[in-house]
């Protein structure tokens, strides 16, 4: 029984490899590195978002009034969501004239990460089962472009709980899907542009503290089968930057080129979601969001 010998031989695999492939986050392990990459960028705009919520925005922009949300989309029981694999691929009819994309100048720059004093807050690292219990699914959409994967890593999730009350005060979870990965699990580009192609899905019941992009003008929403979704786009420069030449603004060194970032924000079943995609087509982003909102039914986007 030669396969049996191989099964036994597998027992001599290095412990570091075994540890590396254990699904659940280990003690001391924080968010997945690639999620951290996005979070680091996104948290820059924390303070500005906080100001938005308080109704005062640096620069005097009026507060954004959220449109009323329709009834939450009901999802199938959690046990059927492992992962979402509809029997038939979803058909998404996109009426482009009804798709509103808010333009943004890019990431906010003047915020800092909240410091969670360990004397006051406890940190918990949840595994996939706990995520499924809390959010009802594994944050892996039914539609993922063929060239992207989760890189073998599950949901990255760290929650903070108030020691005094036991109440959860930060519950943000996220998962990334990229074209390639470094050894440490962080996303890697597979071509000569340093920015990797891929996207993240972030969820929070308490409200997402980090925003990827800040709209320049008023926030317009797009109808996704009855759910309003805010789509925002920015074109950002990537390096290397040529110090001998200036970009069109004349303020910065000339970049090697520009890439697209799209952020889709929406609420579903009382949970805030943000899909942040870089170097992806708008159509792909629309399909990802549609497959999250209603994986088992065809959908019309942009109104009838």
């Amino acid at each position: 029984m030669r396969g049996k010998e191989m099964l036994y031989a597998m027992n001599d695999v290095k412990q570091s490899y075994i540890e590396e492939t254990a699904w659940e986050p280990r003690a001391g392990g924080m968010r997945t590195p690639y999620l951290r990459c996005f979070t680091a960028a996104a948290c820059l705009c924390l303070a500005l978002l906080g100001a938005l919520r308080l109704g005062t925005v640096p620069g005097g922009r009026p507060p954004v009034v959220e449109p009323p949300l329709p009834p939450a989309v009901s999802r199938p029981p959690a046990e059927t969501l492992s992962p979402i694999q509809p029997p038939e691929p979803q058909t998404v009819a996109i009426h482009w004239e009804g798709v509103a994309v808010n333009e943004s100048e890019g990431l906010g720059m003047d915020a800092t990460r909240l410091y969670m004093d360990p004397a006051l807050y406890t940190v918990e690292h949840w595994d996939m089962d706990q995520i499924r219990d809390y959010y009802g699914w594994e944050l892996a959409p039914a539609y993922i472009p063929e060239d992207l994967t989760g890189g073998g890593v599950g949901v990255g999730h760290t929650i903070y709980r108030d020691k005094a009350t036991g109440e959860i005060i930060e519950d943000q979870a996220g998962r990334g899907f990229w074209v390639d990965f470094y050894e440490d699990g962080s996303p890697r580009s597979d071509d000569d542009i340093v920015i990797p192609r891929g996207f993240t899905v972030t969820a929070s019941k308490l409200g997402i503290l980090h925003c990827g992009l800040l709209p320049v003008d008023g926030e317009r929403t797009t109808d996704f089968g009855g759910t309003p979704v805010t789509l925002t786009h920015a074109s950002l420069p990537y390096g290397p930057f040529d110090p001998t030449q200036r970009d069109p603004s004349g303020l910065y060194n000339k970049p090697a080129g520009y890439y697209d970032i799209y952020v889709a924000s929406f609420e579903m079943d009382g949970v805030e979601y943000e899909v942040e995609a870089q170097r992806m087509e708008l159509e792909e982003v629309v399909k990802i969001v549609a497959s999250i909102l209603e994986p088992y039914e065809d959908m019309t986007v942009g109104g009838e």
């Binding site: 029984m1 030669r2 396969g3 049996k4 010998e5 191989m6 099964l7 036994y8 031989a9 597998m10 027992n11 001599d12 695999v13 290095k14 412990q15 570091s16 490899y17 075994i18 540890e19 590396e20 492939t21 254990a22 699904w23 659940e24 280990r26 003690a27 001391g28 492992s82 992962p83 996939m128 594994e138 892996a140 993922i144 994967t149 989760g150 890189g151 073998g152 890593v153 599950g154 998962r175 899907f177 990965f181 470094y182 050894e183 440490d184 699990g185």
Partner: protein
């Protein structure tokens, strides 16, 4: 409790840390053993064997990776419990695993027989050539014994993509072992 605290407790022979180990990794170990054993009682026994072996080997051992260390003992205990003569009749999953792994082995040569440990070393060499994503797929399937469906769910891949990648990895491993002169 942190792994290093548990290891430190085991090193001073404090049994409460064995309970901490059980509490922290018990469900994962039981899941691992259950991949290879069809009966829950057998799986629980394998996990208990692993705790016992952990207790008797730390000290002198002081593992760097506690879960991996105990999981290795658990996996070994589970494989020891497998009744290989009858396993085929009752464990389709195990048959599937052994048949897939048999495809990795070169044809046996009369003079190049080697011990299992050398095969293990070669496996480590092969795993070192893989990128992280492929290594995870390979080990989740053949070390942890995970079903394809679960791996696809965890890695957010289609099942067909997982199968295709594993098929290519088995072929690559066969070539690697041939180059290393290994046959069983």
């Amino acid at each position: 409790m942190e792994d290093r605290e548990i290891i430190a407790g085991l090193l001073v022979r404090d049994q409460t840390f064995l309970a901490a180990l059980q509490e922290k990794y018990g469900p994962k170990l039981l899941r691992l053993a259950s991949r290879f054993l069809s009966s829950r009682e057998d799986a629980e026994e394998a996990v208990n064997d692993a705790y016992f072996r952990t207790w008797t080997t730390i000290p002198p051992q002081e593992p760097e990776h506690l879960f991996a260390y105990v999981a290795q003992l658990c996996r070994y205990a589970a494989l020891e419990k497998v009744d290989w003569l009858t396993a085929k009749k009752r464990q389709a999953h195990l048959v599937e695993l052994t048949e897939e792994l048999a495809q990795c082995l070169p044809d046996p040569g009369p003079e190049r027989e080697r011990e299992g440990r050398e095969l293990g070393e070669a496996l480590n060499g092969f795993l070192g050539t893989l990128d992280r994503e492929k290594r995870i797929l390979f080990l989740r399937r053949y070390w942890y014994g995970d079903p394809i469906r679960d791996i696809a769910a965890q890695c957010a891949m289609g099942e067909s993509k997982v199968k295709t990648t594993l098929f290519r990895l088995r072929k690559d491993l066969k070539i690697y072992l041939e180059q290393e002169g290994i046959s069983i």
